[in-house]
Symmetry: C2
Subunit: 547 residues, 2 copies
C-alpha cells in the first residue's frame, strides 16, 4: 500500500495498492494551490512511481466525484492511460472534465455499481454505497490475497439521506464477521469533531426560515457539487414563489449534469435565464451563484465588486452562503463578505451565529469509531488530512481497542502487509506537481495541462504593478520582467506593458484593491497575449507593490 | 473627528480629533502585512493629513501598549515630533521601541495617570482605567467644546482582574449623567460574540491542570504582551516545581519590562538562562517561548523545525499555545503545529476541544451594550474592525435604543459634530504605508524605517528560487533580478546569487519546505549584503517556484 497524496495534506487524494505485478489506484485528486504558489492553477500528486511501473498499473478506481478525488485525472491519464472505474454520477463529472482537455475519446471509463463485485487481476473490488455531501459515493472493499482492505472514501453516516439511497451498513457489518478485515483506510477530515455529524436534511428548517424572511433578492451559494443542497434550494424557491437563475460556470455545469442524470428534479418554469432576471421583481428571485470560497474569478466575487453582467447585488438583498470556510480561504472569503456588506447586502454565513445553514459531509468521531467497530480491522491507516489529523485519528482508533495497530503513514511510505502484520518498507519518490491549466476560464484549450517544471523552462514573466490600496489606483506604468526568453525584445516588453496597463484601466478600483482578483486578471490577459505572439507558455507571476 | 486607521481593517488604529487649530491623535498603531505584501515588515497609516496640518497637531494620546496602538509611533514621530501621552507601562514599551530607532532622545513622553485630568488646548483629557489582556490600559474621555467624546481603547470588563486594578465603572457611569456624552468610539473586535467575555482568571484552572499532567518539558506560548498570562505561567511553574527559561526576543523584552515596573513578580531562583536547560531534567522545565502566530522567524517556528539553539522539542514534550488564531494566520500556525506533531510533541491549542486555555481581551456584545447604557451617548462610532464588524456594531448599538444614531464611518471620513448632530463632510487622503524596518532582527539600525514608496525608488530585487516541496531541496541555482539599479552589474548579481545559494545550503529541508521561513531568511541575508556593498536599500521580494 503506497499513498501518493492526501496523507499529510488536504486534497490530491491518491492511493496505490500493489500485489506483485498488479497495481490499482484509488482516487486521483487535485489540490488548490496556496497563496504562495503564484502562477499556478492546481496541484496534483507526482506519479513517478506509477509511470515507472507503467505496465503494472491496471486501473484507477474513483470513490466519488469531488475535485480532491477526481481533479488530477486529466493530468494522470495524459501520462498513463488506464481504465477508470466509477459510479454513474462520478463518471459523468469525469467525462466533462476529460472532454475539456480533449482526453475523452481515448479514455476507458467503466461504470461500477454499488454492491456489484468485479475483478482486476488479483483484486476483487466491492463498491459499497456510503453517504456524503455528494451523490453516488462509494467505499471500496478490496479483497486481496492477504486480506480485505477497505477504503472509506469520503463519508458521513446519514441515516436519512435526501435521495433515499441508504448508507449500506449491512455490507460494512458483513466485512466485520469472521475476524474482520485486514486494513481500514478511513477519512480523517472531521477527526477533531466529537459526536455525530448531522444529516443533510438537518439544514432544511433554517434554510426554509431564511427563504420565508427574505424580502428582496436571495443569492444562494453552496459548493456546486452539493447536488442535494442545490435541490433543496430549488424546492424552497418553488415553495416561496421565487424563480431561479443559475449564475457561474461550476454551478451551471453541476446542475445540468445532475438534471440529466435525474438527481435534480426541476419543476417546469422554475428556472429562468440570468438575462431574464430584470423581468421579475426582486422578491420573486433566487440566484444560485458559484464562489463560496472567495475564488477571485468566481461569479460571487465578481458580483461583490459589482462586476457581474447579470448578478447585481443591491441594498437589502440577502446573500446566503450555505457552506463552510475551507482552512486557508478565510481572507479571501472575508474580503468578499466585506464587499457585500458595503453594498448593504444581508450576508448570512456559517459563523456559528446563523443557525444550521450548513452541515459537513464528513463523519465525526463517533462515526469513525462506529465504522471501526463494524468492520473490525486488524490495522487502521488514517487517510485525508494534515499530519495532526492523521495522528489524532490513530489515537482515536487505538482508543476503540479494536485494531492491533493504527499506522501513521505519510505520502510515499511503502506499507507491506501480510495476513497479520504491517511494516514500513522504504519510501518512494513523491511530490506535488504544480500545474497551469492553460488559457482563460472561457476558452477550451487543446493543449493538455502542463506542469510547472516544463513551464519554467518556457520562461518566467513577472509583471510588477504599483497599486494604491486606499484609492485603488495603479501608479506609474507597470514594469514587466522577462526571464528565460525575450529578455531584450523591447517591442514585446512594450506590448506586454500596454496589455497590463489596459487590464488595469478596465478594472474597477474595488478590483484593484483586491489583489487576488487583479493578479488573476493580469495573469489571464498576459497569458493569452504571450501565447499568441510567441507560442510560449511561460509562468506568469504578478507582483503587487502596494504604495 | 477623522479616523486615519482601524475603521475598515484590524490594526493600525489611529484617530484624529480637531477643534479649529488644535488636533490631537488617539493611538498610532501598525498592522502586520498580508502575505501578498512581500518585502514588507509592517504597515502604518498614511498621515498626510497630520503632516499637512503640522502646526496644529498638539499631541498623541495612547490608550495602551499593543502594537496595533503604538507600533506606528517611530514612523509618525520621525515625520512629526509631538508630545506623546501614555500610562507608565505603555510608555515603557514605547521607550524601548523608540530607542531601537534612535528616536528616544528627541521624544517628549509624558505620563498620564488614570483618573487624573489634563488639558491640551481646547481638550480636557480624562484617562479612565479599563481592563484588557494587557496591563495599565485606559479609555479616554475627551471633553470638547461641543461635548464629551469617549474612546474606549481596547477593553473587556474583567470584574476580578489579576492585578487587582479595577475597571473604573463609576467614571463611566458619571459620564452618563446629565444627558450623557456626545459620542462613544467603541472597540468592535468581538462584536460577533454573544454574552460576556470571561475574565483573565478563568484560564487558571485548566492551565493548572495541564501543568499538573505534563510529564516532560512544557513549552508555553502566549502573546508576549500578555503580562498577566505570563505571570500566571511563572506562578504555576513555581507551584509544580519547574524552572523557567525564557526564549525569544519579544517574550524576553516583555518579561524584562514587566519585572522592572513591578507588574511581574518572579521568585528568586525560578528563572534560568536558556543555556542552563540542559542541567535540568525535562519534567523540571517550563520554556516560555515567543511565536503563537506562526511568525516565520519566531523562536517557536524555529524550534518546530529543530533550528533553535536552546529550545529543543522532543518526543513527549508538551507545547501549550495559550492564545487565539488571529484571522489570516491560520496557515502559518497550522504549519507550525504540524511540525510539532511530527516531532511527536503534544500540542494543546485553542481549537475548542482543549478547555479554557485562553480568553479574549475584548468585550463581547453584552459588554458593548453595558458601556452604551452606562455612558448614554448621543452617537456611537464603532472603531477597530473590518467593515462588517463596524456594521454589526452599529446595529447592536441601535438595538439598545440609547443612541440617536450609530455612525458607520471608515478611514478618511470627516465627521463634523455639533452639540446634537453629526454629519459626514468629505474625505481626506488616507492610505497604508508599507514599511521595511531595516536590518535583520538582531541588528539595531541607525537608519529610521523608510516607507515602501521610497524603497521602491531604491530599486527592487527579486530572488527566484526553485524548491522541491517533497524533498525540501533547492533545484538549480537561484536567479536574481535587479530592477532600478545594478541591472548590468554582473559581479554584484553573481555575488547576490552566491549569498542566496549559501542561505539555501545552510537551511534545513524543513525550513525550505516552509516558504514563509525560507523567504524571510533570504530577504534578511540579501538585505544585509546589498546594503553593505551598494548602500542601497531596495525592496527585496523573494519568489518561490515550487517544482
Amino acid at each position: 500500500m503506497i499513498p501518493l497524496g492526501g496523507l499529510g495534506e488536504f486534497g490530491m487524494n491518491c492511493m496505490a495498492l500493489r500485489w506483485q505485478d498488479d497495481i490499482i489506484v484509488i482516487d486521483a485528486g487535485l489540490m488548490f494551490p496556496e497563496e504562495e504558489l503564484l502562477g499556478v492553477d492546481i496541484v496534483v500528486p507526482d506519479i513517478s512511481y506509477l509511470t515507472e511501473n507503467r505496465s503494472k498499473v491496471k486501473a484507477i478506481l474513483l470513490t466519488h466525484g469531488h475535485e480532491d478525488h477526481i481533479g488530477g485525472l486529466p493530468w494522470i491519464l495524459s501520462e498513463l492511460n488506464v481504465p477508470v472505474y466509477g459510479t454513474e454520477f462520478t463518471l459523468a463529472l469525469v467525462e466533462g472534465k476529460l472532454d475539456e482537455h480533449r482526453l475523452l475519446d481515448d479514455a476507458d471509463l467503466i461504470e461500477m455499481l454499488p454492491g456489484k463485485r468485479f475483478q482486476i487481476g488479483p483484486f476483487t473490488i466491492q463498491p459499497i454505497r456510503v453517504t456524503h455531501s455528494l451523490v453516488d459515493c462509494v467505499a471500496l472493499a478490496i479483497h486481496t490475497p492477504v486480506g480485505t482492505v477497505l477504503h472509506t472514501g469520503d463519508f458521513k453516516i446519514d441515516l436519512a439521506p435526501p435521495d433515499g439511497k441508504a448508507f449500506d451498513l449491512q455490507a460494512f457489518a458483513d466485512l466485520g464477521k469472521d475476524g474482520g478485515i485486514l486494513a481500514l483506510l478511513q477519512d480523517s477530515t472531521n477527526v477533531d469533531r466529537p459526536g455525530w455529524t448531522p444529516g443533510e436534511k438537518a439544514v432544511r428548517p433554517r434554510l426554509d426560515e431564511i427563504f420565508g424572511q427574505t424580502k428582496k433578492k436571495l443569492f444562494f451559494s453552496c459548493f456546486s457539487s452539493s447536488i442535494t443542497r442545490i435541490g433543496l434550494a430549488f424546492e424552497l424557491a418553488q415553495k416561496h414563489g421565487r424563480k431561479v437563475a443559475v449564475v457561474g460556470r461550476s454551478m451551471d455545469n453541476a446542475t445540468e449534469i445532475a438534471q440529466d442524470l435525474g438527481y435534480l428534479k426541476v419543476p417546469q418554469g422554475l428556472v429562468i435565464q440570468p438575462g431574464q432576471m430584470r423581468d421579475f421583481p426582486a422578491e420573486k428571485l433566487l440566484v444560485m451563484i458559484s464562489g463560496t470560497q472567495g475564488e477571485p474569478m468566481s461569479a460571487l466575487s465578481r458580483a461583490a465588486v459589482n462586476n457581474h453582467k447579470f448578478a447585481k447585488i443591491e441594498s437589502g438583498d440577502t446573500v446566503l452562503m450555505s457552506s463552510r470556510v475551507i482552512p486557508g480561504n478565510e481572507k479571501a472569503i472575508y474580503r468578499v463578505i466585506d464587499h457585500l456588506e458595503r453594498r448593504d447586502a444581508n450576508v448570512i454565513h456559517d459563523d456559528g451565529t446563523n443557525g444550521l445553514i450548513h452541515v459537513s459531509g464528513h463523519g465525526s468521531q463517533e462515526e469513525l469509531k462506529l465504522i471501526i467497530n463494524l468492520v473490525q480491522p486488524k490495522f487502521v491507516v488514517p487517510v485525508h488530512g494534515d499530519y495532526r489529523h492523521l495522528k489524532r485519528h490513530a489515537e482515536l482508533a487505538m482508543a476503540t481497542s479494536v485494531p492491533q495497530k493504527a499506522v501513521l503513514a505519510e505520502d510515499g511510505d511503502v506499507l507491506e502487509f501480510t495476513k497479520d502484520s504491517v511494516t514500513k518498507n522504504g519510501k518512494i519518490t513523491i511530490g506535488r506537481i504544480c500545474i497551469d491549466s492553460g488559457g482563460s476560464i472561457d476558452v477550451v484549450e487543446d493543449v493538455v495541462i502542463r506542469d510547472r517544471k516544463h513551464l519554467s523552462e518556457d520562461g518566467i514573466v513577472l509583471p510588477i504593478i504599483a497599486i494604491n490600496k486606499a484609492t485603488g489606483r495603479a501608479e506609474g506604468t507597470p514594469e514587466i520582467v522577462f526571464r528565460g526568453f525575450a529578455m531584450d525584445d523591447a517591442q514585446l516588453i512594450a506590448e506586454a506593458r500596454a496589455i497590463t496597463q489596459r487590464t488595469l484601466e478596465s478594472s474597477s478600483p474595488e478590483e484593484k484593491q483586491d489583489y487576488g482578483v487583479i493578479k488573476e486578471k493580469i495573469r489571464n490577459d498576459l497569458k493569452r497575449f504571450i501565447q499568441k505572439s510567441t507560442s510560449r507558455r511561460p509562468l506568469i507571476m504578478p507582483v503587487i507593490l502596494e504604495i
